[in-house]
Symmetry: C2
Subunit: 189 residues, 2 copies
Amino acid sequence: MTDMGNLYLALMHYPVQNRKGQQVGSAVTNLDLHDLARAGRTFGVRAVYIVTPYGDQVQLVSELIAHWTEGVGSRTNPDRKEALQLLRVVDSWDQVLEDVQGETNHVTPVTVATSAGIREHAVDIKQMQMSLEQGMPHVLVFGTAWGLTREFMDSCDMCLFPIQGAGSYNHLPVRSAVSIYLDRINGCM
Amino acid sequence: MTDMGNLYLALMHYPVQNRKGQQVGSAVTNLDLHDLARAGRTFGVRAVYIVTPYGDQVQLVSELIAHWTEGVGSRTNPDRKEALQLLRVVDSWDQVLEDVQGETNHVTPVTVATSAGIREHAVDIKQMQMSLEQGMPHVLVFGTAWGLTREFMDSCDMCLFPIQGAGSYNHLPVRSAVSIYLDRINGCM
């Protein structure tokens, strides 16, 4: 069982690709917030960043988080509160890095991209676990829409090997991919 | 890698429990349909049953499936069509069993419940894989809301050991649980 106390998740809504491979911004999906928070809480990650540059989406996410962590939802469903307390909405990737540095004595985190496609020099789960065990903060990054852009992935320190199923079909929901990667890093136990 | 060609999934909206442990029927969540279909397609399951006794919900699910498999959605997003073709909406658990028997030469499938709680005689993934390798059809059953009722679980042939994270928090979304179990049965590769 790998300790994920130094692991942060980031769900990017910009920059991501549309189905034609063009760089776009995507809209926030409410259920992503709940699913990433609940999976993150289950496996003990430190925090989950929701990244969107759009002011109205930042506002919406802030209100949703407040409903479940301070409002009516926090009283009717304390388990949900415990999970959604992990969420942090920010307007850019730079904000993610700054925020992590702000609570880790200015350590620059190791950034780990994910992709449904096979990339050169992708690392496997064993390497990811070993890297986490060094004690450095890590940010595991997921793209919405048709995934992270090539430029963004190139800017990360490493990229995780894709999840492969029974054949060539590789269109897992981001909610599934997050859950599976966390379970694998934890040791599939 | 375990062949899942004999594995069916069933997502139950009745009978399930509410947070007080009372037996209730739950409403269908649109994203469950997409996520279970996409995860099921990725790992090669045979079909995914959506079980609800409510006529309006059966109608709604039928229309959603038709949109993605025959309507506009099937042309704009063929990958989604490929996944949602796995979905079958039925009004009862008995219908699931009948339908499976109808396409497996009247073989009664092995029924496998899932639960977030530890149950006596729960089987682990290795036992599940070995059972699948015998070639019999299996139905892996998931509950919405607060999970399957005790009576329903008792009626199944076996129950899978729960997914355990880093601590005692055990409130994974059903979408996460399905994804993780399929990845584990496949071998976490």
